[in-house]
Symmetry: C2
Amino acid sequence: MAKAKKSKLKIIPLGGVDGIGRNITVFECGEDIIVVDCGISFAEVDTPGIDFVIPDISYLEGCMEKVRGIFITHGHEDHIGAIPFFLKRINVPVYATRLTLGILENKLIEHNMRDVCELVEVAAGDVVEDGNFAVEFIHVNHSIADSCALHIYTPAGNALVTGDFKIDLTPIDGETMDLARFAEIGSEGLDVLLCDSTNVERVGFTQSEKIVGAFLERIMFNTDKRIIIATFSSNVHRVQQIIDASAKFGRKVVITGRSMLNVINAASRLGYMTIPEGILIEVGDMKRYNMDQITIITTGSQGEPMSALYRMAYGEHAQIKLGKDDLVVLSSSPIPGNEKLICNITNELLKRGATVLNDDAVSDVHVSGHASREELKIMHRLTQPEYFIPIHGEYKHLIRHMELAKELGMDEENIFIPEQGHIIELSPSGMKKRGNVPNGVLYVDGAGFGDLGSGVLKERMKLSEDGVVIITVTLDSEFNSILSGPETISRGFAYVGEAEEITEQLNGLAAEVIEKCLDKGYCDFSTIKSKIRGEISGFIFKQTKRRPMVIPIIMSVAL
Amino acid sequence: MAKAKKSKLKIIPLGGVDGIGRNITVFECGEDIIVVDCGISFAEVDTPGIDFVIPDISYLEGCMEKVRGIFITHGHEDHIGAIPFFLKRINVPVYATRLTLGILENKLIEHNMRDVCELVEVAAGDVVEDGNFAVEFIHVNHSIADSCALHIYTPAGNALVTGDFKIDLTPIDGETMDLARFAEIGSEGLDVLLCDSTNVERVGFTQSEKIVGAFLERIMFNTDKRIIIATFSSNVHRVQQIIDASAKFGRKVVITGRSMLNVINAASRLGYMTIPEGILIEVGDMKRYNMDQITIITTGSQGEPMSALYRMAYGEHAQIKLGKDDLVVLSSSPIPGNEKLICNITNELLKRGATVLNDDAVSDVHVSGHASREELKIMHRLTQPEYFIPIHGEYKHLIRHMELAKELGMDEENIFIPEQGHIIELSPSGMKKRGNVPNGVLYVDGAGFGDLGSGVLKERMKLSEDGVVIITVTLDSEFNSILSGPETISRGFAYVGEAEEITEQLNGLAAEVIEKCLDKGYCDFSTIKSKIRGEISGFIFKQTKRRPMVIPIIMSVAL
């Protein structure tokens, strides 16, 4: 394609560039906008009680009429999880491959939105044209089937978004990612590469998914125990390998965990899995088989509380009781932050007498779905971009990816470390950073979602540190005297035995403070509250070296 | 020594066997008890606001007159941190090597206890005899100098506690652990081995501390940046290597962070560090040197909030501002649970333009202080114990260590996986588990410590999940009518914009509930409170799918 570059292409990451997850990138050219992916991220230590986090798309809401569609690379939560929230505000067509749409469809049904959304199925190799954009889907390997990179072609130039990928030279479905097409794009001339940075800290080459299957077969050959394998439900190739190995060694397969059942149903219905006739049995039928004739595939590989594996580990699973005749395989690696949960679940499984295999130096029970350094180098060499934007990672990953590109000979000036909301503009005069658009995050907690940012989350953190002390008092409405109280109530604050004594002291101190206020003729709630808060906080800190949240409540009664 | 075995030796772990930290093991023989180590462990996700955790020693308090002394293997917090709390309850002599005592002494001074405690200095090779016990200190390598294993000899048999150790064949102080003595003990006959399990999941052999020095020299040779190195203050050999490398390359050294200053002072005063004349400078004098003439040694390698490195990373350090002429070395590996903190601090440092080196596959900036599998095998082979008790680790580590011992030919019946409070008894008829002693943990939070176990911590967790909703109302003392309120106050609960609306609704609902109670003639606080709590919780969950803690407060005024 000859390039008659005119106009400008703006690339705006609204997420996915300052931490793992919440991937969403906006491409804007003339009067048209397309959005690539729209995922969630998970709660962290400093966001207690949050279910998950979604990108703030108010920038797009401000120019809604320009938005042509969402183009999805693959069906993981960090790429599709926020789409229902997006479509509620901006209802545009969604373009994706079949399995990705299958997973998204389940999600939309849960939100009662299936009927009002337009889902457009594409296949790797297809090109979708819309306004100034032509978007080509290119097959890549990843830990979920049907993953694609997107080649985005515009009058202002072209961009390649790799999505999450690895180069698997012996993939389960026989389809190595389309290296030839990446090379072709490179030869034709690529303006901007946006590339996955997740595994940039790993040296070498990520191992093929196939080695997990080989290892599982070795285990099944060597053990007469029942085998319980926990993995991500979305990794249909992993699940396929577990089923294939079980079939080979005459094991029946039990599926447990809601999301595992959902994905296996969707994947086999859509033709992404082949399940041998009669191999699946119900959990209740396990008793008709010997232990060495059973494989259980389950959710919970991240130690998630109340997942099927968690309930088995803590002896709370109604139908599956584990013991010394069980071999548990954690076919996954910890998502950062989940290390301790996984350690706890491993301890519990071992305490029940089960054998446990983790992903470690001697057990090939898991491989990553992301490209390691040598694969990233291949991607850069094949596509030969003029400009480079590392995406998908913590800030440190983006920096390491920049260093990798520089090692390959790229000029630092041609590399853009993106921050959320940056406008990176490609024009005939080159690529430049041009200001910011509104951006941020929204917290989803229960039925509500919105801006908990500053206030509510800080309050929760503070409450969790040292608890809360509430001082209530009723005054007459003329501020002459105390009618009732002060009464102190605390939660999460004082130790057993300590509480009663300190409560008495606080009641006495609060009474003194209030009497003094009334004597001085203070007659507004806020002054009295602030005096109480100050004195009580000070006293508590002196006595206990703790800083609970202190809440004074004053009521008044007209006599 | 000829063994005339009589009586019994009880081995009772009161900590250190169900998670990393809080190491303490009791040895009881006849009328004598000795205690090996007495450490703390750190707060976890489910113990918010806790400073640290100490072992419950009520078993020992019940037989205080038998306790002869505490014998310490080395000066890390997880082995000495709870000694002040122990000595406040049971004041017995403490036996340890010089550096260990130096660090403990600082701690006792902070607790105003130095004068009332008896600290007895021993050297590797010394034997302390007391009642039925003879305790020999044997030099081992570890990430703190002056570490020892303890050989405990009693009429009922002998036990070897390795303490934390690694086998460093090129140690910084020239003293490889006393392998010959371990072999001798094995030849003479060892009844029980209690061995460190921390690194049992690591294959191979832990690298020598020396490689870190070599790597630091390579960095200093190649960079003209200022170098900031964060490490554990107690690792005096690491700090010595940083100072030596700096001296070699003409760099002055700035020490920052309170614990770093304390330890370097103690270590050099006691002869464990050699600091070249004039190499240390004050932070204020840095401006007189070029960037490539300065090394800063700091605390904060675990990303601890408010540590010196944390303040530098977030631009809050009064005297040290980092930028693109700085190279930060995180000379440590994450303690499980700290991964995210370290990731965050790395991101911040990179955002300031600094270069950051972490412990990864290509940077030898850190080595572990614990024995990997091949070293553990050497320990087992040298000491040839009849019985084996794996200690120091998560349950999973103890199990893996048992498996390792079995690989070496040990009979599973001779291996005891200890749990906290187990009595493991060695007698002429062999080793057996014999019941339990009282055991548990105490939480230290601010000035207080005690049993927060069930109530307070659960309240904190609940508060952090969805916050708190407080409903206050004042009634007349005859329960005829509402005099004031109900008033709803929430913290950590509702979103911006959402709060006002729901507060109004809750006030209305609470008023209805209370009026209904009064109409029905309910006139006790607890019934009315429980009605309010039930209705309000139900309403909130229906509206928001959240479950905040609901606290009704009723005051009454006599009219």
